[in-house]
């Protein structure tokens, strides 16, 4: 689904075939772009942790939480 998703400058992600939109923030947008690039959860955690200089244990919880949300929305399995 992410291939389809178009994210505009207000961080709203739109999936044309389903006609649904998602409001997200910068970090979420970044993670989705990383997913599109084929990165997995552990990779994403490391990248974020390095970029923002935050401990990977803390980031792990957030990314895990984010993936749960994506599952709820049916965007990933």
């Amino acid at each position: 689904m992410f291939e389809e998703m178009i994210i505009d400058e207000n961080n709203v992600g739109f999936i044309p075939s389903l006609g649904i939109s998602f409001q997200m923030n910068d970090t979420a947008k970044k993670i989705i772009e990383l997913i599109k690039e084929g990165k997995n959860k552990e990779d994403i955690v490391k990248i974020l942790s390095d970029e923002f200089d935050v401990s990977w244990q803390d980031v792990y919880i957030d990314v895990e939480d984010f993936f749960q949300k994506l599952k709820v929305y049916g965007l990933i399995k």
Partner: protein
């Protein structure tokens, strides 16, 4: 280095999400200070969870109600209802403001006495008054409000033992047009039971009727109900003075005024449905002027909730967050229904300690207890919170402390912020010794 880290947030946009107050995804309710004291500082100094009372708020409310009543009816006296909050410091604040005491048990009576309140400044209510406590109260000059026929007999025996007549009041109940009617306390006026009780008192020749009391309910949203209550009490007073020659010195209309708490199941906001002090005062004093014959009685009020509820806050810290299978975010905080018994009836106002980055998402707030009912807020829009975020829950000043349970976790500290914004510790947290203090381990189990 680079930009500040923000937790990732994604929310499906739903155009049917309507709200009275602007965008639900962005509006955050922030309360970073109570009486100019930062909530994080309070938690840092005194621990979490933490009950916080604002003396300024207490005094403002008390003065508001006092003004509303005394400007219309100068001879009004407030009697602080101990069961609403019997912390020594809080009671002292009210007594210093001029309020007397209203108690409903021998324990509360003793507590008031230890605070230095004299018997004559205590109203003793309640259906259960053990005889020796009753006798002591009578000896010390307390105002006894009789609840049932057995109590009349008890008092007459005491009168005989002490060799003197006892001034008393009777509690009445009546139909005030609202549901539920608290009909199991006192004597019913509508079916004549109250009149019978007075006749019994008169014939007993040992008790002198000096007052009439009623307490029609709690969290009353109708000022008119009080008008009806006062009317029936005053009409009863007129009849008594005419038929028995007693001079009814006072009418005690009890308490029950509502606070700006949000009742579960009620859609409208408290500003819309909760009557103001003036509305209650207007209904009550108008009824007195309209129906009273003879000398105007003193007006006693046992207001509790309305005076203290909005002055009390509970600070609680977020410990962890979870994502529920349905997508809702669940936060675990360190205060639960063990401390907020009234959470079963009210949707508290919950505020953040500062503005958070990110969009709100549907969340719920759960307490620390390992019990499924431990839910403080079922459904609330919150931004992503960290461990350590401090939430302030309001209004919790009434009943929560007195009804809190020593269950699973120790009861927390309680702080009172004075009018100069200095926080004072008024109750220490429970500890193991305190909990075990009254336990006795039988020999054979040692």
């Amino acid at each position: 280095m680079s930009k500040k880290y923000e937790k990732p947030v994604i929310i499906k946009v739903d155009f049917t999400m309507a709200s009275k107050y602007g965008s639900p995804l962005k509006t955050q309710k922030v309360r970073s200070e109570i009486d100019d004291v930062n909530v994080r500082d309070l938690v840092e100094k005194f621990g979490s969870p933490l009950f916080v009372y604002s003396q300024r708020a207490i005094e403002n409310k008390y003065n508001e109600f006092k003004e509303a009543f005394t400007s219309r009816y100068p001879d009004t006296q407030f009697w602080w209802s101990y069961k609403t909050n019997y912390l020594d410091a809080i009671c002292k604040v009210f007594h210093k403001l001029g309020s007397k005491a209203e108690v409903v048990s021998e324990f509360e009576y003793e507590k008031a006495r230890t605070l230095g309140i004299e018997g004559k400044d205590i109203i003793f209510n309640g259906p259960y008054k053990p005889k020796d406590a009753l006798k002591k109260a009578v000896e010390e000059g307390a105002k006894i409000h009789i609840d049932h026929w057995y109590e009349i007999n008890d008092l007459e025996e005491i009168a005989k033992e002490l060799g003197k007549e006892i001034p008393v009041a009777i509690r009445c109940n009546m139909n005030t047009g609202v549901y539920p009617q608290w009909s199991r306390f006192g004597f019913n006026i509508d079916n004549g039971e109250a009149m019978d009780a007075i006749k019994r008192i008169f014939e007993g020749k040992k008790l002198i009727l000096t007052g009439l009391h009623s307490h029609i309910g709690t969290f009353m949203l109708s000022a008119a109900a009080y008008g009806a209550e006062v009317r029936k009490l005053i009409e009863l007073k007129n009849m008594i003075e005419e038929n028995f020659g007693y001079e009814i010195e006072y009418i005690d209309i009890g308490g029950g005024f509502a606070s700006k708490n949000r009742l579960k199941g009620v859609y409208q906001s408290p500003e819309v449905i909760v009557p103001s002090a003036d509305e209650y005062a207007e209904a009550i004093t108008n009824a007195i002027f309209e129906f009273n014959k003879g000398k105007l009685p003193k007006l006693y009020l046992e207001t509790g909730r309305a005076l203290i509820d909005e002055a009390g806050y509970l600070l609680t810290s977020v410990w962890a967050g979870k994502r529920m299978p349905d997508g809702k975010k669940s936060y675990i905080v360190d205060a639960g229904v063990n401390l907020l018994y009234t959470a079963f009836w009210y949707n508290f106002d919950i505020a953040l300690d500062k503005r958070y980055e990110g969009l709100n998402e549907p969340s719920m707030i759960n307490g620390p207890l390992c019990m499924n009912i431990d839910v403080i807020s079922e459904n609330i829009m919150l931004p992503p919170l960290n461990r350590g975020s401090v939430l302030s829950i309001w209004p919790v000043g009434a009943y929560n402390v007195t009804q809190s349970m020593q269950f699973i976790r120790y009861r927390p500290r309680i702080v009172l912020i004075d009018k100069d914004s200095n926080p004072h510790l008024i109750k220490e947290a429970d500890d193991l010794d305190y909990v075990r203090e009254k336990e006795i381990l039988p020999e054979y189990l040692k």
